[in-house]
């Protein structure tokens, strides 16, 4: 059942990504001010949305781990952080590639960019912690706390275009209200890209989560076998 779901998600993700790419390169009209480079936006925004959602999931898993203490919550948070980190990195890279022709620079210490970079660093630290420390229970506790604290940066990033003076464009919800997409085909392309990236995230997340669960069960089994070996050696 679970294997079927993962396979179906993988196939669906492939179909949706191909459809989204067709829409980005063929269907959608070129934006008048920014030109062809505006088409980066159709994958940049979904990557941001997925990264924020994944880090929200890390925080929820962290809360449940600290509350209930099950290993499943730790594995859930770990899988979400890793997949979220992939999309957060892609968001930063695609944003930088858009900024170069638009702003004339790869990077600027704007409030939204800086707060996003801080988020990336926090989750980078979260993942490094998991690699560097052996004691899994201690790591799980620390990681849960970091995951919860780091997620507080997400609303700061979302509100940064309203709270501070920033050069980052507010396209989805403009400062005047409403959205900045003039053509219905632009909205349709964004929605298809958003669905494609969400399904891709769900697929990658489920595969990674299943793998982490399997790793946890294998470690428990290996401990049991080692114990049995010691006992049979004593006899």
């Amino acid at each position: 059942m679970a294997r079927k779901l993962v396979t179906s998600l993988g196939v669906l993700s492939l179909i949706l990504v191909i459809t989204a790419l067709y829409m980005v390169f063929e269907y959608v009209p070129t934006e008048a001010d920014e030109g062809i480079v505006q088409r980066i936006f159709y994958f940049h925004v979904p990557c941001a949305w997925i990264a924020f959602m994944a880090f929200g999931l890390v925080a929820v898993a962290g809360i449940f781990y600290l509350w209930l203490g099950g290993q499943i919550w730790d594995d859930l948070g770990h899988a979400a952080a890793e997949t979220g980190m992939l999309f957060c990195t892609l968001m930063l890279v695609s944003g930088s590639l858009w900024a170069r022709p638009m702003w004339g620079t790869w990077w600027t210490w704007d409030s939204r960019l800086t707060s996003t970079f801080i988020l990336w660093l926090l989750y980078g630290g979260y993942l490094m912690l998991r690699v560097m420390i052996e004691d899994s229970r201690q790591v799980a506790r620390f990681a849960a706390v970091i995951g919860i604290v780091a997620a507080l940066d997400v609303p700061v990033i979302i509100l940064s275009v309203r709270l501070w003076r920033t050069i980052h464009p507010a396209v989805l919800v403009t400062r005047q209200g409403g959205h900045g997409l003039q053509d219905p085909r632009m909205v349709a392309t964004l929605l298809v890209s958003l669905t494609a990236i969400t399904v891709t995230f769900a697929w990658l997340f489920l595969v990674r989560f299943a793998e982490l669960r399997m790793g946890t069960r294998l470690a428990a089994l290996a401990r049991g076998i080692a114990l049995a070996e010691v006992r049979s050696g004593d006899i």
Binding site: L21, I36, I40, T89, S94, L204, R208, M214, L218, I225
Partner: protein, 64 residues
């Protein structure tokens, strides 16, 4: 087609990164599978001497 290079680079990076992540998951999966095989072999080695020696234990399932 001004700035097409940036657009092409962005989408190339996105899909190369996703492909690399899938490859990383695949690699982990094969490592886990080899761990399963090693544990199966260990379990077999643990249960075989018992089943050879004991008549009563020969039909029972090994507990993990």
């Amino acid at each position: 087609m001004e700035h097409f290079g940036y657009l092409f680079a962005t989408y190339s990076i996105i899909f190369v990164a996703m492909f690399l992540y899938v490859a990383f998951i695949w690699q982990r999966q094969s490592r886990l599978e080899s761990e399963v095989r090693a544990l199966e072999a260990k379990l077999k080695a643990l249960t075989e001497p018992r089943s050879e020696s004991g008549g009563a234990e020969s039909g029972s399932k090994p507990s993990p």
